[in-house]
Amino acid sequence: MPGITREEVAHLARLARLELKSEELDHFAGQLDDIIGAVARVAEVADQDVPPTSHPLPLTNVMRADEVRPSLTPEQALSGAPAQEQQRFKVPQILGED
């Protein structure tokens, strides 16, 4: 089981636009490694005849009719937003585009 390297954590941090300090990279690399290691034990238990699966239920084609259901009011929708302006979610300056 290959460990999570600090380079991988740095890459993820870059994608997420997170600034991590050098010691944080080591810290998170260790933590992520533990988590992934724990989940990876499932693969050890699974036999050759168990196919990889993305959903526990053997269902397909669960769909709904194209019928409008009531939405939240804008007030409800925005009630959890840290900041709002012009009835819109206000977010800090977007970085790293263009």
């Binding site: 890459h11 870059r14 994608l15 997420a16 636009r17 993305s54 959903h55 239920l57 269902l59 397909t60 084609n61 669960v62 769909m63 709904r64 009719a65 194209d66 019928e67 409008v68 259901r69 009531p70 939405s71 939240l72 009011t73 804008p74 929708a77 925005l78 302006e85 012009q86 009835q87 819109r88 979610f89 206000k90 977010v91 800090p92 300056q93 977007i94 585009e97 263009d98």
Partner: protein, 505 residues
């Protein structure tokens, strides 16, 4: 990044003398479903900001998506119309990225299991040649929210202090249609790109899955382009020009990129893989985001949705219900209406084909239906900057005007006034005729008197006609039309004049 880049362009013909263009076109179509792809929020345009959202499309913890059946059906229809294979089983995937236009931090899309793949679309070029564009895949996904960048210049993201998000659009069903590399088009590559998007738009409209209005962003095109020297098989590095949103722009963007790539390559430079923005004003593109790292969206199967497995019988049922392909329909109509390829193209560009068809179905002769929609009505639409279809007049009303003309009750000039009256909201054609007193003077007695007076008033012209110069009759017809304030049938007037002067028409 400034809007103007100082780039030299190679003349188009010179670029083509050295290089072959290779294109890839990615088109996003917003479906016309009533609700979003994964929740029951309305997709109606023009609503108040954030009035069409719910826990699912806002990405609240614990909210679960459920697939819109019509979204899937539309995807299968599009796939079938593009001659694609339809997956027997496929899944949705999460495309992870960190940008606030998706509150979930991912877009629900499809990755390596698209619902439709391996198809083609035959498109017709201006000279009638058919060019086959191969389709890589068509997959289902969802639209993003709309951002408003505040504090910078002209709403641009650069220099903005913060951004405002409206999530009404987040979750609206999208179908992304991706071509295989389009090779072998040579100098006609920009024309092929335009013809492909035009044909696709017609197809989507014919399937009735979206109105596909490019100016409203219901259909958006990315133009990927690279050049390679003649004789090489390896593709060059491509640029990706994003959101090119009109047919004309698609053609211009491809042309510009061919000239720009050639200039960079000729001067010994290398093309960087990057996204570019297209500018309507001068047809140029400028650099956007450089893809220094390979795209890293960390796709994985969407665990909150179960797979889609379109039953074969259902797929065949949908195939059986597909409409006539637009290109074949146009060919049939062209023969029925007796018009040239060029005329058909103008009608297509004006959005008049369906209106003319409906007018003919309502009883009008083809030439009249075409004449009014492409003449008087197209002019009116142009002047008011509205779509032909949005004019306050119905095909049935135009057909009634045509009927009055055929019956000799109206001449062309009066018919135009009737159309004008209908557009002005004065009522049905018959009401306008009644109110404005617009009827051709068909009373032979009154018409005869007007003809006699015109002959008496213009003896020199009358003599010419008597001597066989039939063409001179036009002047007398004009005099009679003036005397009857245009309310006479010009052809009948001409006959009467020639008859009285003993000349042969």
């Amino acid at each position: 990044m400034t809007v103007t880049e100082h780039v030299s362009l190679v003349p188009y013909e010179d670029a083509l003398a050295t290089y072959d263009p290779v294109m890839g076109l990615e088109v996003h179509v917003e479906l016309g479903t009533r609700t979003k792809m994964f929740c029951g929020c309305s997709t109606e345009l023009g609503a108040d900001p954030n009035s069409q959202t719910c826990p699912t499309c806002l990405g609240m913890p614990g909210a679960l998506p459920v697939v819109n059946a019509i979204g899937v059906e539309s995807a299968v229809k599009i796939g079938l119309a593009l001659n694609c294979e339809i997956a027997e089983w496929c899944r949705f995937a999460r495309k992870n990225y960190f940008y606030p236009d998706m509150p979930k931090n991912f877009q629900t899309s499809q990755y390596d299991e698209p619902i439709a793949f391996n198809g083609y679309l035959d498109v017709q070029l201006d000279d009638g040649e058919i060019f086959r564009v191969e389709i890589e895949r068509a997959h289902m996904e969802e639209d993003t929210g709309k951002s408003l960048h505040v504090g910078g210049a002209t709403g641009r993201i650069q220099g903005a202090s913060h951004s405002l998000l409206d999530y009404n659009r987040a979750g609206i069903p999208l179908i992304e249609i991706v071509t295989k590399p389009i090779e072998g088009a040579g100098a006609r590559a920009p024309e092929v790109a335009k013809a492909y998007v035009a044909e696709l738009r017609e197809l989507i409209k014919a399937l009735d899955v979206s109105e596909a209005r490019m100016e409203q962003g219901q259909m958006r095109c990315d133009v990927n382009l690279s050049l390679r020297p003649h004789g090489r098989t390896k593709f060059g590095t491509r640029s990706e020009t994003k959101n090119v949103n009109s047919l004309r722009s698609v053609e211009r963007a491809a042309r510009y990129e061919i000239q720009r790539h050639a200039a960079v390559l000729n001067s010994g430079g290398t093309i960087i893989q990057e996204t570019r923005h297209f500018h309507e004003e001068d047809g140029s593109t400028t650099s956007g985001r450089v893809k220094e790292e390979a795209e890293d969206y960390r796709y994985f199967p969407e665990p909150d949705l179960v797979p889609i497995a379109p039953a074969r019988a259902w797929v065949e049922e949908l195939r059986g219900g597909l409409p006539e392909l637009p290109r074949l329909r146009r060919k049939r109509l062209r023969e029925e209406w007796g018009v040239s390829e060029h005329d058909m193209q103008s009608m297509l560009n004006a959005g008049a084909v369906d209106l003319i068809t409906a007018t003919i179905e309502a009883g009008a002769p083809a030439d009249q239906a075409r004449k009014w929609w492409m003449g008087e009505l197209a002019r009116s639409a142009n002047e008011t900057s509205t779509d032909l279809a949005a004019l306050p007049i119905t095909p049935a009303q135009v057909a009634r005007v045509a009927e009055l003309v055929t019956a000799g009750d109206l001449n062309d000039k009066l018919a135009r006034q009737v159309l004008e009256g209908v557009l002005a909201g004065e009522g049905d054609p018959d009401t306008v005729v009644e109110k404005r007193g617009l009827k051709v003077v068909s009373d032979e007695g009154a018409l005869g008197t007007a003809v006699d007076e015109a002959i008496a008033a213009n003896p020199a012209i009358a003599d010419k006609i008597r001597a066989g110069k039939v063409a001179a009759a036009g002047a007398l017809v004009g005099a009679v039309m003036k005397a009857t304030r245009g309310q006479a049938d010009a052809a009948r007037v001409r006959d009467l004049i020639l008859e009285r002067l003993g000349a042969q028409g």
